[in-house]
């Protein structure tokens, strides 16, 4: 039996920068696309993000990072996800992330990176497609 399922997406900001406008814009867009967005807010540690993803049983994780600490943060997040048997979780990033870091992030398990200038529709479509696969 095919059961229609509302997608649940975690949106949060790991690390110490306080610029949450981007995360809020994306959260709002996903909401308007009919998804349930678990918004965890600022200053999340990787442990908090993974714990929330586990308890909320989300279909994808979207993180906004403008602090420059994306590599160490994502190393930790992806390692913890694997520990909790959620290694195949789609993860998308936004914020300020230099192009040259993208291959390394993808190698860690990040599915997509949406920098400044990304269109909201593009992000929504990405989330719908990648999250629904799971």
């Amino acid at each position: 039996m095919v059961v229609e399922r509302t997608l649940r997406i975690l949106i949060g900001k790991p690390g110490l920068d306080g610029h949450d406008r981007g995360a809020k814009v994306v959260a709002r867009a996903l909401r308007d696309a009919g998804m349930e967005v678990i918004y965890t807010g600022l200053r999340q540690t990787p442990e908090m993000i993974v714990e929330a993803a586990l308890q909320e049983d989300v279909d994808a994780i979207g993180l906004s990072i403008l602090s420059g600490a994306h590599l160490p943060l994502m190393e930790r997040v992806t390692a913890l996800l694997k520990e909790e048997d959620m290694g195949d979780m789609p993860i998308f990033l936004g914020g300020i992330i230099p192009d040259e870091d993208v291959p390394q992030l993808k190698a860690l398990g990040v599915t997509a990176v949406f920098g400044p200038g990304s269109s909201i529709d593009e992000i929504v479509t990405f989330v719908q497609e990648s999250a629904a696969r799971g």
Binding site: M1, V3, E4, R5, T6, R8, A27, R28, L30, R31, D32, A33, G34, M35, E36, V37, I38, Y39, T40, G41, R43, Q44, T45, E47, M48, E51, A52, L54, Q55, E56, D57, E84, D85
Partner: protein, 337 residues
Amino acid sequence: MDDLIEGVLNGRSRAIARLITLVENDEQAAETAVRQLHAHTGKAHVVGVTGPPGCGKSTLVNELAKAFRRQDRRVGIIAVDPSSPFTGGAILGDRVRMADLAGDRGIFIRSLASRGNLGGLSQATTAVIKILDAAGFDIILVETVGAGQSEVEIAATAHTTLVVEAPGMGDDIQSFKAGILEIADILVVNKADRPSAARTVQSLELMLHLGDGGSTRHHGRLLHNQAERDAETENGRWQVPVKSTVALEGQGVAELAAAVVAHRQFMEQNSEWQTREQERSRREIEMILQARLWQRLRASVSELEREQVITAVARRELDPYTAVNDLLRQITNGERS
């Protein structure tokens, strides 16, 4: 499914989370889960927290959870936020205020969207409570959507209902109105560091005492001190306390947690616990019955036929009662054939 049930009974987070998702999305899964878990439930103290948007429910739940953890009780939290009536989407933001609780394996937080339910909870809330109860959580805090005056569903779902108010939200008359204030087992005035807090407490207390018939029973004297109230409670009547808190600073929270525990003790000593269990079960059966009737209707009368009936009512060719009687007859006929 059996693996998930076993995982839940062993208190494993992943299994709890997965089963909640299943129960939220799939009526059949909900039935299977509840059938297997029901016998393992009935131990948890279900505490509802309701009140208007922005009065501090999430912050208070965060603080209460910490207080109960200090008593070494395992705490489950269900936080409900509204779904969009247009897109079905939702922003579930209660975790923002619960960051303190991260990393504690004795706490499990789940955010739920109301998904079209208007009573302040979501349809699946009762089943989710069962899952957390079966998983061994001692206290389950259920935070409703921001509630106005009449979202009273929580009272039939929880053993103890906290109604949270903030100062400065209207005059004395608000506190005399029927509805949400009547369902409180404990009234909480949060943000009690605000200037008008004392007046809010006063008008709530006055409302409670007038309801008591206090003036005759107590020789025109209002019961002002806690000792007098406790004495009343010992006589078998729960006296709804008004507790002041400043949740952001944790002020008054230990006293509030103590009042919650006192309410449970009171219920156990006065067979009130059984009464509430009776009411909770009654409500649960009614909800399932309602959902099942809808299901049967959809199964035995096609959407086209249902629309035709609706059109007939809209055109005044049929009255709504006759329409419903016809539909009900079709369900029962469908059963026989």
